[in-house]
Symmetry: C2
Subunit: 388 residues, 2 copies
């Protein structure tokens, strides 16, 4: 029995999502912006998809949701858009973010630093999150943007978005949140939280890869990142990928309706807790960032003396797909700044294993995984790996 527990990396497309997409490959294949019926035939399902997206994140009708290739594009767009609009062509020169953002934010900020932009990377506390007050303290006269994630990809820890939203609203600084790991796991409501922009990727909530979105509140000024045709109201050029957009809409609807969020909290959360409790019985294990205030599907666990990558390999041999929390894993592209934040010199930095569940995991799978994990960990108990 294969058990996939790496849903924060990517998810299985829900078969119902694929079903919605299929007509748009070989049958209703026109360009939505064409004048003829081959193009117009795409419109009803695209509008339905947009409705699902607006409802899913609590956007107002007058706000924009722009379809992108993924959250990485949305994140690049926000950071570099703020650079061009407020820094290159304005009088600002400062961006605030955290030290535990996804690389799509941090690498983009590092690039801006090479262009002379000041970036503040706010530190996180022992729980791997930051205080909203630290955002307030960091805001300067020349701050162009605050970008703080909604939920961390490694720990699942939730950030104080509402408090940060209020601070930014009060001080007049645009507030962007990378909500990639929050959608479908907790309720994301952009209006209730005073967020100006959020990024998301469909493949993190059982939609297809290669499509995501950027929510932009009405009135927020952000130049296009993709120049060209007038698609997406002139905000994002490029022929609209209808199949993917329709798929993302359906995936959003399925992931964010009230029952889905309740199922995530109760059922997926219960399975995660069951897995976590079993692992915590192994001596010297700890949940990184603690067990409170997290997305229901994620746990990042350190087993002292067990190198993350070795453990991952053994899990893989046993049919379990997970992810290391270690920044050392060369092929792990979501290398974990959280572990670095806790101290990359410490033993801990090499030991994290991330298990991330989804609605497709069954109780049987988790029971089975626990059994196999016990077997693996007992072999480690006799021959703990040593490393510098």
């Amino acid at each position: 029995m294969e058990v996939y527990l790496d849903n924060n990396a990517t998810t299985k497309v829900d078969p119902k999502v694929l079903e919605e997409m299929l007509p748009f490959f070989c049958d209703i294949y026109g360009n939505p912006n064409s004048l003829h019926r081959f193009g117009a035939g795409t419109h009803p399902k695209m509008l339905e998809a947009l409705d699902y997206l607006y409802e899913g994140i609590g956007a107002a009708d007058e706000d924009d949701i722009v379809i992108t290739a993924n959250a990485t594009e949305a994140n690049n767009w926000v950071i570099k858009g703020a650079w061009i609009e407020y820094i290159l062509n304005g009088n600002k020169n400062h961006i605030i973010t955290s030290e535990v953002e996804h690389p799509a934010i941090t690498a983009t900020c590092r690039f801006l630093e090479t262009q002379g932009v000041n970036v503040t990377y706010l530190e996180v506390n022992e729980e791997g999150v930051l205080d909203a007050q630290s955002v307030k303290d960091a805001i300067r006269e020349d701050t162009a943007l605050v970008s703080i994630m909604w939920a961390n990809n490694e720990t699942g820890k939730l950030f104080p978005v509402k408090e940060i939203g209020l601070i930014c609203k009060t001080t007049g600084v645009p507030f962007h949140s990378d909500a990639t790991q929050a959608i479908g796991k907790v309720k994301v409501d952009v209006q209730a939280n005073d967020v100006d922009m959020i990024s998301f990727s469909a493949h993190k909530f059982h939609g297809p890869k290669g499509v995501g979105g950027l929510y932009i509140k009405k009135g927020v000024s952000l130049p296009p990142y993709m120049h060209g045709g007038e698609q997406m109201g002139g905000r994002r050029a490029g022929t609209v990928d209808v199949a993917s957009m329709v798929g993302m809409g359906k995936a959003m609807q399925m992931a964010t309706n009230t029952m889905a969020i309740a199922y995530e909290k109760n059922h997926v959360g219960m399975l995660r807790d069951k897995l976590e409790k079993a692992i915590l019985k192994i001596p010297d294990t700890v949940v990184i960032g603690g067990r409170e205030n997290r997305t229901p599907n994620t746990t990042l666990i350190s087993i002292r003396g067990v190198e993350g990558e070795s453990m991952l390999w053994d899990l893989n041999q046993n049919g379990i797909g997970a992810s290391t929390g270690s920044a050392c894993a060369s092929e792990d592209l979501e290398a974990n700044p959280v572990m670095n934040a806790f101290g990359s010199d410490s033993e801990l930095a090499h030991t994290g294993i991330r298990f991330s569940l989804s609605r497709f995991n069954t109780e049987e799978q988790i029971t089975n995984a626990v059994t196999r994990l016990r077997g693996i960990s007992s072999s480690y108990a006799y021959t703990p790996k040593k490393y510098a």
Copy 2:
């Protein structure tokens, strides 16, 4: 009988392409960069897709082909990458392009002009193409990039890529060509033509929407456009859309093999010629840019006194999907700079209709379309549309 003749806007996904994509939605859905088998399971077909892409455009093994969301992203990347690398952080300040590029090039260049960059938009001749010599004449000490399309999206006219390639090679200026409308219609060989970079979009050659590529010759310096993870060798961040990449590979293979190119030239070209000849029997019709040296699938035709948009509507009512060549068509996002180049004040500018065929068009469809076109045009003959 519906007849789709707007293949330069977008194409039907080949059912064989979809078949290749299907396993990667719900079954082999892992992140290719994950360490576990769920990720590794994607690798064989991804490598196969890359092979098809390299072979399809004649790239060398040491060159890079980077998967993007579409040609619009690739075009934005090249233009803005050159801006950052050679202009903002270098001593160049000039870009050369033509006045008939796709908006993804021209709109991006217009944006750079707002940032103080000098852009030369080379004029085209009465055939809608430019002389390679005009590129040579325009090159300056501070020229950072030459970007000239391979084939025009409206007329299908082929540009002197080989001559421009040689000029750029000799003068040491990077040469990019938007090959979006050339792939699958004529042989595209980047090495034989000394091209440094080309852009393409899968949905123009019966692949899926939402995926394209940028070829970058070894040694050409271009900073990433999407910062983040280390996907695509660090050149383009964002989780790889495996299904789309595999689909694009298959589509490339099917569109660019020797038999496919011959079929395009002979069969699709024959159908286009048949359609064109029938339309040319209507009085006062002309093929914009002339009939020589074009892609085999495209014709842009002006019927004097017949407004493009009205004609398009009548065609649509008769089940024929085509496109206007008029820059006035508000929803036509590939509004036609070619018509402007011929003089936007002239009657001609309002009259162009583009028919673009594909291997999915049949002789029966074309015969049928010709009959319907005659009916439409005869009604026009009695009541010619007048306009300013």
